[in-house]
Amino acid sequence: MTISELSLSVRDLACERGGRLVFEGLSFSLRGGEALVLTGPNGAGKSSLLRQLAGLLGVAQGEIAFTGGDPELSLGEQAHYVGHLDALKPSMTVMETVSFWRTYLGSIPEGADTALEALGLVHLADLPAACLSAGQRRRLSLARLIAVPRPVWLLDEPTVALDAASVARLVGLMTSHLAQGGMIVAATHLDLGLGETKQLRLGVEAMT
């Protein structure tokens, strides 16, 4: 991963879902090595914002500019998105799942072991995903982050179903990603203890 100086700037972004305006006039900027934590009540648009950044949801208004990465690729192609759906196939084993995403997203067929190690999944490598617990499934989808190096991580409630030890492990991985100059946008209700992070609170006026 060669990251000179990443920069993400979002200007005047609006999001519309089903004819309803979820948010508008949203602006923020983020540089490599920084994390942005999204907070806000349910339905405030945290997930929608993450999906817009990942290129999975249309932008109603405004713009998202990302510089410093590979100019040939879109932001979505340089980002990891870990959403509520875990994208696991019940009949594929843990090892097969990680190897598949590693080959598919990164064209690196070998070396999935480090990702399994980082998430503490090594002893489960030969187990089909159908046999995993909710926390283990979540760890398996998080293993993508390590399996394929990408500069931007978009995490939607990454700590759901994780136990304290796994949360600590995830925070460790996030910290080292930031230390390498990567960028994280995460929606979470937990205080992750990432140190200094930017905060963005969505939908505040909707509460009053």
Binding site: A54, G55, L56, L57, G58, L73, G76, E77, A79, Y81, G83, H84, L85, D86, A87, L88, K89, P90, S91, M92, E96, F100, W101, T103, Y104, L105, S107, P109, R144
Partner: protein, 225 residues
């Protein structure tokens, strides 16, 4: 990019042959329909021989339709499709990989099963080579054209019926030329008619190899946003 393509294809093949993948479903459906048919029509061997190519094709078409609705829906529902679009592989090639996987796990086994089931319908011996040839040429068209229907209905729960309705008109040429190619051998007209049917079938298949990925990718793009 080539690696990503083959990784996706290999994943789909693997999923199809494993338990719950539904790989054998189409063949079993084919088997059930064709084995019920003689009971419905009666043991008139000449009549069976006459309708055999047409019935084999219709049953094959329905068997292919039966498995199509899950082509993109399974990946859509568990979030895999989102992640697939975030790779470097263009959406068109994703559709090619999925449709090719569908053909290898559904179309090809159906073609292999067809001669065996032809025996049950008293299909005349000289009809086997043209029938199998026509099925080999026609089944990829079923998968690639079907991909458009599957992509259009990806967000619709129980969208299989809707996809079948959408795809049906596109399947009609495959059916007509497919039966034509096989029947020329038994129906008594000159071999030239069968050859022409076969060539037209190949033309339909080649066109579908181009239209399927383009149409499927456009439909997916519209549905994912």
């Amino acid at each position: 990019m080539t690696r990503a393509f083959f990784a996706l294809l290999a994943r789909d093949l693997r999923l199809a042959v494993r338990l719950g993948g539904g790989g054998g479903m189409a063949v079993f459906f084919f088997l059930v329909v064709i084995s019920l048919l003689p009971f419905g029509i009666g043991p008139d061997r000449e009549l069976l021989a006459k309708v055999a190519p047409g019935m084999l094709w219709v049953a094959l078409l329905l068997a292919a339709l039966l498995t199509l609705d899950r082509l993109f829906q399974a990946d859509y529902e568990d979030g895999s499709l989102d992640l697939l679009t975030m790779g470097l592989l263009p959406l068109e090639l994703i559709v090619v990989a999925k449709a090719l996987g569908h053909w290898l796990t559904t179309g090809l086994p159906l073609v292999v099963a067809a001669p065996l089931l032809g025996l049950m319908l008293n299909l005349p011996g000289e009809a086997y080579p043209p029938l199998i040839l026509a099925m080999l040429a026609g089944t990829p068209a079923l998968s690639f054209l079907g991909a458009i229907g599957a992509a259009l209905t990806v967000g619709v729960r129980r969208g299989g019926l809707l996809a079948s309705l959408l795809v049906m008109p596109f399947y009609v040429p495959v059916l007509i030329f497919g039966v034509g190619a096989a029947e020329a051998a038994t129906g008594g007209f000159a071999g030239e008619a069968g050859r022409q049917s076969l060539l037209l079938l190949v033309a339909v298949a080649l066109a579908s190899l181009v239209l399927g990925p383009l149409g499927g990718a456009a439909a997916l793009r519209a549905n994912l946003r």
